[in-house]
Structures are given as C-alpha cells and as structure tokens.
C-alpha cells in the first residue's frame, strides 16, 4: 500500500532579472491519500493544481517540504535507487521525448528486462529475455518489425505503447501514468486504454492515472483524487 501523508511543497518565486527570492508559491498543501494494490486511482486537476508535483514526489525526482511518502510503511527516501525502481515507475506525457532516439526498440526493452532480472537477483538468460520482449510486444499489439525500428520511425501511438511496455517490464508496485493519452488521437486512446486494462487484468498492476479530463477519469479509474490548487477536494469512490 502506498501512502501519501500530509505532503506539502512550495517553490521559491524569484524576481525576473536579479533572481532574488520574492516569496513562496505553495504548490501542495497537506495532501494525503492512499493507493491500495490493484486499484486505479485517478488524480484529477487543472494545470497548476499540483498533480504533476505529486507525480514528481512519488518518483523521488523531488522531496516534499513536509509530510512523507510511505511504501508499505517504509519511507520512500529510505529505499536505494535500485530498490525504488521496483516500486514506482512512470509513463510520461510526451511520446516524442520518452524514448532514447539513438537506440532501437529491441535494445530499450531488452535493457529493461535484464535490469528487472538483475534487480530480482535472477540470472540473466538471453533467450528467455528475448522471448519475454517479443511476447510483450505482441501483447501490446505491436508487430515484431517495430523491434528493429528506431523511435523516430514510429508513430506517437506506437511510441507510447513502447513507453508503457518499458515501464511495465520492471514490474513496479505502482505505475504512474502522467496524461499518457493527451497527445494521441481518439482511436489510439481507445487502444491504449484497452491495453492498460488488459495489463491490469493479467498482471494486477496498480495505476495512478493523472489527467485533467473528467470523462476519461470516470471511465478508467476506481477512485478519483481531486486536486484544486494544491488541496484535496474529495476522494470519494465513483
């Protein structure tokens, strides 16, 4: 169980030219919620409501000013970077920036699969990993010639699917999806949502789905956490 407990975060505002601190902007104020394994929690809010900040805090890209984030009771800061890689992973919003443009898709996925095996302490078995990668591609509806392609040769939908697979291959406890569909066409959004639902059904992932679209959250999530200007509005189940 992942718990966000009374987290607050502010950023210093600086004057335009001399960059002198002129005040603090409170981005999050005492936000608390929990995520139970296997559920899909929606984080709904407008731009500037703090939802991206919560994602950053959960990914340990930043630390909260007060409050803490606990994973099964253990503070997130206490994990090593390697241990944390099995706890939280993220799929970013922009499919054009989330894949290394100089590496092939096969390399990107194989690298993750090997990392997962290594973090588990299992032996790295090349044929088994290659088979894993190919199975993962099929399950996401990607044909095998995507494997030999480089990211710039893929469409936005294909790239986003690869990004989801990369995050999923590490088998994290929590998968954060930061507006993963907003750059995609409507028909591709449907495919992506179906893929995410399938993955959850077969492997039992837990999702934190960040969006500003109420309809989308209503369709996809068990429960919605609504942020308004850094504070919770309600956390009622649907």
């Amino acid at each position: 169980m992942i718990e966000v407990r009374s987290v607050s975060k502010s950023y210093a505002l600086r004057s335009p030219i001399l960059q002198r601190p002129v005040g603090m902007r409170m981005v999050l104020a005492g936000v608390s919620f929990t995520i139970v394994p296997g559920e899909t929690v929606g984080l709904l809010g407008a731009s500037g409501s703090g939802k991206t900040t919560i994602a950053r805090l959960l990914c340990r890209l930043d630390t909260p000013d007060s409050g803490e984030i606990l994973i099964d009771g253990r503070p997130a800061a206490a994990f090593t970077r390697r241990e944390y890689a099995r706890q939280v992973q993220m799929v970013f919003q922009n499919p054009h920036a989330s894949l290394n443009p100089r590496l092939s898709v096969r390399y990107l996925l194989t690298e993750r699969a090997r990392q997962c095996a290594w973090l588990d302490g299992r032996r790295v078995d090349r044929p088994a990993i290659a088979a894993d990668v190919e199975r993962a591609c099929e399950s996401a509806g990607l044909s095998t010639n995507v494997l030999t392609a480089c990211p710039h040769q893929l469409s936005g939908g294909q790239r986003q699917r690869v990004a989801i697979l990369m995050a999923v291959m590490l088998r994290p406890r929590l998968l954060i999806l930061d507006e993963p569909l907003s750059a995609l066409d409507v028909s591709l959004q449907a495919q992506m949502l179906n893929l995410l639902n399938d993955l959850q059904r077969t492997t039992g992932f837990t999702y934190l789905f960040i969006t500003h679209d109420r309809d989308l959250a209503g369709y996809f999530c068990n429960r919605i956490v609504h942020l308004v200007e850094g504070r919770l509005a309600d956390g009622a189940p649907i």
């Binding site: 407008a46 731009s47 500037g48 469409s155 936005g156 907003s182 066409d185 409507v186 028909s187 591709l188 959004q189 449907a190 495919q191 949502l193 179906n194 639902n197 500003h212 679209d213 109420r214 309809d215 989308l216 209503g218 369709y219 996809f220 649907i238």
Partner: protein, 339 residues
C-alpha cells in the same frame, strides 16, 4: 446568412518528401470540396494523417515550399477591396500579406509557441494591428488593443498588455491569440485544435469566443481530432480520413445519426463514465501509406472498415452520395436515399 464566403473545389495537396529511394510524393489531401457560408461554424474532424492541418495551412498559404496544390480555393470577401473573389493559391507578395490577417487568420494549437516570448503582449498586438490599419499614435493603439482584449473577456486588459507571454496561463494566452486573430474581423478564422493543449474545463470558454466571432460575421473552421468538441460549437461538420472527405453535413445530424462507418467508430471510441469496465471500440489497423497511389484505386477506409460490402473491394473509390443536406462517400448509401 447563406451567402458563400469560402469555396474549396477539388483541393489537393501533395508533399514531396525525400526518402531512401529518392523523393516520395505524399498525397495528404485529395479532392476536397466544401462551401462555407458567411458566419457559419464548420468543424473539420480527423485524426493525425487525415489532412485537416494541411487544409488549414493551405488556406493561409503556410504550406512548405515543396508542397504542390491542385484544385481551387476561392474566398469571397465581405468588402471588395480586392475584388469580388480572391483566388488564394495565386496570391503573393503584398496581396498575400493583405489577405493574411485581414481576410483570413489562424489560431494555433500551442499559444506559447504562437507568441514571441521576448516581447510584451501589448507590443505584439499593436504590431499586428498596425499591419492592416493606420493608427494615429500610441494611445489609440493601446485603446484598440484594450478593446480587443475586452472582446475576448480578459479581465484587466491594461495589465495584460504589459505582461510577457510566459506570465499568462495557457487559457489566457489562447484568448490573446484569438483576439489577434479577430483583430481585423476577417472573413474566415481557422482554429487548429485551439483547446487541445488546454485543460478540459477551459474548453467551453475558448470555443464560446469563437461562437461570438461567428455571430459577428467571421466564419470559423474548427479543426479538431475530437468529435465531442464539435457537438455544440459548429453548425456543419466534415469528417476527414487519410486525406479524403468521407462525410459532411449538419453537426446535429452527424452526431445523432452518423452514416459513414468511420464516423460511427470515431463517436464510439470516446470513453464515457457509463462505459466503465467495458473495453472501448477500437478502430483496427493503421492509416494507409499515402505515397502509394495504389490505395487510391478503391475506398480508402476499406482495410479497416467493419461494415464492408462485396462491392467495396471490387469497384473503385466510392462516389459522393447526397441525401438531404448531407454527403457521404460510402457504397452503403448507393441508392442515394436511405441505406
């Protein structure tokens, strides 16, 4: 008003792109025919690769130099400063500069990309106004700019004028961009996905600004990939797929009773809270390769169509069938009336 203001006749756009085996010709838009009446709001719905952005760029003559246009695109302006009809593809130089801004303007998807980040808002607005209008002095310019900002319901126009683009929110900046587009009451405003980069709750505000513009005589071409956006903000809608117009008609009719299989799938793919738990309808397959002319010899949607008939694969591309005020390119409606 039913007088026409814009006429597309068989408009085609071809992009020449270099590739591994020399230059490929990508037929991004083919045979697009549409008539837009004054003050009306037309939605152009399509996904990526449908040619909708190409259409908007063609009207504003913003296509790359390697693009080749065919067919005709005529604008019939309100005031006859440049004659009764303006043939858009042949404009150049001074005439083109006059056309852009005075007769046609564009609102882009990303407001932060559309504004110069190092100039204040006031300066950018004033320079846009000065292009088509002689202003006596700074005070008159500022007053005009403030009136423009009031027109898009931005509070405190004087304060906004002094700000830099990054100091405004996305929604506010898009309003400024709309103000710029409406500055000279153009005949046509092309809005290319104006709300896609903004939060959902800001959508209504921006789109209602475009409604007001239409009411005051500027026709709106609302380009979007989301069919739910056109619902209450357009009078007519065109559905584009892979560069072809597959369906057109009054918006209310299309959303209530979509004729073309693609339109039906597009409407069904939108997730709503009521569908929780059920998988969404997916449009299988991928867009055809628009540089391969073989795909144009039959219905462009055939490989992905769930409702195909034997005649679809055997005959050439479906002709346009007209029923009441609606047109559709699909063999299912061959009779001309009813299906």
């Amino acid at each position: 008003m039913t007088e026409p203001v814009l006429r597309f006749e068989n408009l085609g756009v071809l992009y020449r792109t270099p590739g591994a085996a020399g230059t490929r010709a990508v037929h991004a838009l083919r045979g697009f025919t549409l008539q837009v009446t004054r003050g009306s709001r037309v939605g152009i719905v399509g996904e990526s690769g449908s040619g909708k952005t190409t259409l908007g760029l063609a009207l504003l003559r913003l296509l790359p130099r390697s693009a080749v246009c065919s067919g005709s695109l005529t604008l019939l302006p309100r005031d006859e400063c440049c004659g009764r009809a303006v043939d858009v593809p042949v404009l150049s130089g001074k005439a083109l500069r006059h056309f852009r801004g005075r007769h046609a303007s564009m609102v882009f998807q990303d407001p932060f990309g559309a504004m110069d980040p190092v100039l204040r808002i006031g300066r950018q607005i004033v320079s846009a106004i000065a292009c088509h209008r002689t202003l006596r002095d700074g005070a008159e310019a500022r007053a005009f700019a403030e009136r423009l900002l009031e027109r898009v319901h931005l509070g405190d126009p004087a304060v906004v004028l002094r700000k830099y683009p990054h100091q405004l929110s996305g929604g506010q900046l898009q309003r400024v961009c709309i103000a710029l587009a409406l500055a000279h009451n153009p005949d046509v405003v092309v809005a290319d996905e104006p709300t896609t980069a903004l939060d959902a709750h800001l959508r209504e505000g921006i789109l209602s600004l475009l409604d007001e513009a239409a009411a005051s005589g500027s026709s709106i071409l609302l380009i979007t990939h989301d069919i739910s956006v056109v619902g209450s903000h357009t009078d007519r809608t065109c559905i584009l797929y892979a560069g072809e117009l597959v369906e057109a008609g009054p918006t209310a009719d299309i959303t209530a009773d979509p004729l073309h299989p693609y339109t039906r799938l597009l409407i069904a793919a939108r997730p709503t809270a009521q569908q929780r738990g059920a998988p969404l309808t997916v449009i299988p397959g991928n867009l055809p390769d628009l540089s391969d002319t073989a795909v144009f010899s039959r219905c462009i949607f055939l490989p992905r169509c769930p409702d195909r008939l034997p005649v679809c694969g055997r005959s050439g591309p479906p002709p346009v069938f007209t029923r009441d005020d609606r047109t559709v390119r699909c063999y299912r409606y061959g009779g001309g009336c009813g299906d």
